[in-house]
């Protein structure tokens, strides 16, 4: 059975801090790894990674995939209160897309 594990499950930091969210996966026939941000309602897409070592960047957010060690990280620099959300990692394998339980990130002013 495909599995995705995220850590930490929750994280509280102050505005301006840098955070690193972790995601490890075990899936058969791995195709891609995705990061989503969920605020009040629907998860919204952040990144999709398919190759190791290539860092994806979007403003203050960046993500790297390590296909050898089967993990990905999501970095957020200079955090803002609007970054508060649940961050979901998902791995696409033979069973389709399997989600982790998410990291609940809280940014305090």
């Amino acid at each position: 059975e495909d599995k995705v594990v995220q850590s930490p499950l929750s994280l509280v930091v102050h505005e301006g801090d840098t955070v690193t969210l972790n995601c490890s996966y075990e899936v058969t026939n791995f195709r891609s790894l995705l990061w989503y941000k969920q605020e009040k309602k629907a998860p919204t897409f952040l990144f999709m990674l398919t190759s190791s070592g290539i860092e994806k960047k979007s403003g203050r957010l960046s993500s790297i995939l390590d296909k050898k060690e089967l993990f990905s990280i999501l970095n957020i620099t200079a955090t803002q209160t609007g970054d508060s959300a649940i961050y979901l990692c998902a791995a696409h394998g033979a069973d389709g897309l399997t989600f982790g339980k998410g990291t609940h990130l809280i940014i305090q002013p």
């Binding site: 891609s32 309602k41 629907a42 389709g96 989600f99 609940h104």
Partner: protein, 114 residues
């Protein structure tokens, strides 16, 4: 224009009732999904469906059934609702391209069974 839309946003009902949640996507995607998110925010797939294939998560009770009148719609019908069915249900769609796919989610339906 909403890419993936589902209705209703909120659904409150009594145990034992039958209810449906509708989903429509205007992205031209070939695959649609239903996910259940429990109170701990764990998102778990229930069904994936395209014109050729319905894949059911074997842990989903057969009281849940997806119905797809056409490629742009995938509705979720639930029979004999139980308290444990209370959750947020998300519809999603994707276009499988080269083996990698990106899901677009609807805004969710919060189901409360009393």
């Amino acid at each position: 224009d909403t890419a993936v839309s589902q209705t209703p946003k909120y659904l409150v009902t009594q145990m034992g009732n039958d209810k449906s949640i509708k989903c429509e996507q205007n992205l031209g995607h070939d695959t649609m999904y239903w996910y259940k998110q429990d109170s701990k925010k764990f998102l778990k797939i229930m069904f994936s469906y395209n014109n050729k294939e319905l894949i059911i998560n074997e842990t989903v009770p057969n009281r849940f059934s997806p119905k797809s009148p056409d490629k742009a719609h995938l509705n979720l019908h639930i029979n004999s609702l139980e308290l444990g069915d209370s959750a947020v249900y998300f519809c999603a769609s994707s276009q499988r391209t080269g083996g990698a796919e990106k899901l677009f989610f609807g805004s969710g339906t919060q189901l409360s069974v009393l």
